[in-house]
């Protein structure tokens, strides 16, 4: 009777020790796995930081990059790699490679491969991609319909003053560029109907300062009076940069009066006087196309540089280009879109450029915003309306950002989690 309990105790003890050892070993193995996972996480954080730092550097210098030839891509890669290396170093990580994964120039995203020290002398490796995005939302800024002389069409408000959508869209780009330089552009006056001009003229019946009703350019909805009070700095900035956005100073004695040369587009009553601004086109626009681009853009209320930037981004000015999706020609129009525009030969730049200008100009008038118009050109106006702004497709966001950069409107690139136009696009295979 007293023998059996001793035997049971003797059998249980080794079993307990074995099971305990197994559980402990399992726990330690899990702990080791956890440490390894932590090392991978640390490497991923370092990769994310390196990628976002490089993308922020790209964002800061994208205007500069847009003006440089594609041949300088190696120098740009080296410059951004230096930033990524400096960003990864404090985390003890090493940048193994940096690349521009998307096609086209200037680059819109940066991908880095980073390695960081892990347990037992191993290195954990992580990949991160960050890029530029553009963001814009549909705004309800309609101000009714102009009629009764001069411009006849929809009006939108900027600083509470009415103007046609094409002027508002270009003004927005110019305003963002000015703000980036510390200048605040304030619209003091925009479209004025003949009736409003008559009231103004009755108050100040001096034709040297107030035009008679029916004679003011403000009736065309293309004219803006900007910063009339203490506007010296703003006017000097406009004198340097206004033409790039399609605006010219109308009268030498009125430094505040700026007119939008391309006009309000086909729905406007008339195009404001002033020739197409071929001279304002950047040097990267091929000579044989400069005239066609300037005329087509101006006929549709868009700045020539914007149309040129779109064509460069779409096809690199290659009239024979065909995309994998089937888009054709210099403007990369889908066959159905080309047919809808009445285009017989999308491979003929003489036909395709005016058709692209007509399409883009229509989108600008419909949305009153260049970024939204570009998004509509890329993803379709239905997608823009469905999402209430630029659709959340990385391709479309990068497309808009690239064209804005090429058009000298890099300051309008914005959005992303921090609102600075930069976001992580892909991290080690998972989207964030």
């Amino acid at each position: 009777m007293s023998h059996r309990p001793r035997r049971q105790r003797g059998q249980a003890l080794p079993l307990v020790l074995v099971v305990a050892a197994l559980v402990l070993a399992g726990s330690l193995a899990l702990f080791a796995l956890g440490r390894a996972q932590l090392a991978v996480t640390r490497a991923q954080v370092a990769a994310d930081v390196a990628a976002i730092s490089a993308a922020r550097e790209l964002r800061a210098r994208i205007g500069e990059a847009a003006g440089e030839p594609v041949a300088t891509s190696g120098a740009w890669r080296a410059r951004l790699a230096a930033v990524a290396v400096a960003a990864a170093a404090p985390a003890g990580a090493r940048v193994e490679a940096l690349s521009f994964p998307d096609d086209g120039w200037p680059p819109m995203s940066v991908q880095v491969i980073v390695s960081a020290p892990g347990p037992r002398g191993l290195r954990a490796r992580a990949v991160a991609r960050a890029g530029l995005v553009a963001s814009a939302v549909l705004a309800d800024d309609g101000a009714g319909w102009a009629s009764g002389g001069g411009y006849a069409g929809p009006l939108v408000l900027r600083d509470g003053k009415p103007m046609c959508p094409s002027v508002a869209a270009s003004f927005d780009l110019m305003d963002a560029a000015a703000r980036a330089d510390g200048i605040d552009l304030v619209v003091v006056s925009g479209f004025r109907s003949d009736a409003e001009q008559a009231v103004l003229f009755r108050r100040h019946p001096d034709p040297r300062w107030v035009a008679r009703p029916g004679h003011s350019r403000h009736r065309d909805a293309t004219e803006l009076d900007l910063n009339m009070v203490a506007g010296g700095g703003a006017h000097a900035w406009l004198a340097r940069n206004g033409e790039g956005f399609g605006f010219v100073q109308r009268y030498s004695w009125e430094p505040w009066h700026w007119g939008y040369v391309p006009g309000c587009g086909s729905r406007g009553a008339q195009r404001a006087p002033g020739g197409p601004t071929v001279a304002a086109l950047p040097g990267w626009v091929p000579s044989p196309l400069r005239g066609t681009i300037a005329v087509a853009a101006s006929a549709n209320g868009i700045a020539p540089v914007l149309l040129a930037a779109l064509l460069r981004s779409e096809s690199g000015f290659d009239p024979r280009a065909v995309s994998p999706a089937g888009a054709q020609g210099i403007a990369q129009l889908m066959p159905a879109t080309a047919r809808g525009l009445g285009l017989r030969d999308p491979f003929d730049p003489g036909q395709a450029i005016p058709a692209a200008a007509r399409l883009l100009g229509g989108h600008v008038r419909a949305f009153g915003s260049v970024p939204l118009a570009l998004a509509a050109y890329n993803a379709g106006p239905g997608a823009v309306r469905r999402y209430g702004g630029i659709p959340p497709y990385p391709e479309t966001q990068a497309y808009v950002a690239r064209i804005l950069a090429l058009a000298g409107a890099a300051a309008s690139i914005g959005g992303g989690p921090g609102g600075d136009g930069v976001r992580l696009i892909r991290v080690a295979g998972r989207f964030v």
Binding site: R9, A12, L13, L15, V16, V19, A20, V23, L24, G26, S27, L30, F31, G34, R35, Q37, L38, T41, R42, Q44, V45, A46, D48, V49, I52, S53, R56, E57, V83, A86, A87, P90, A91, P417, G418, L424
Partner: protein
């Protein structure tokens, strides 16, 4: 067999505690990542971003245990 129970419970608690430490470390790392991404960029001075996460105490005497994660970044 009854004698195994306290040992197994103790070992299980230890494993659970280790898992809690790892979990807190992951959360701290994620917190650091999010903060670092907001400010990283430029070539300015190195700023250390830290985050601390409380570890759920399973074993007695480990109340108040925290895991700290940190990363150095270059701020603008």
């Amino acid at each position: 067999m009854l004698a195994m129970i306290p040992v197994l419970v103790l070992v299980a608690l230890l494993g659970w505690q280790l898992a809690a430490v790892i979990g807190a470390g992951m959360r701290a790392q994620e917190e650091v990542r999010e903060r670092a991404l907001v400010t990283a960029g430029g070539s300015g001075r190195i700023v250390v971003v830290t985050a601390a996460e409380a570890v759920g105490a399973v074993l007695p005497g480990l109340e108040g245990l925290r895991v700290r994660a940190r990363i150095g970044i270059r701020a603008p």
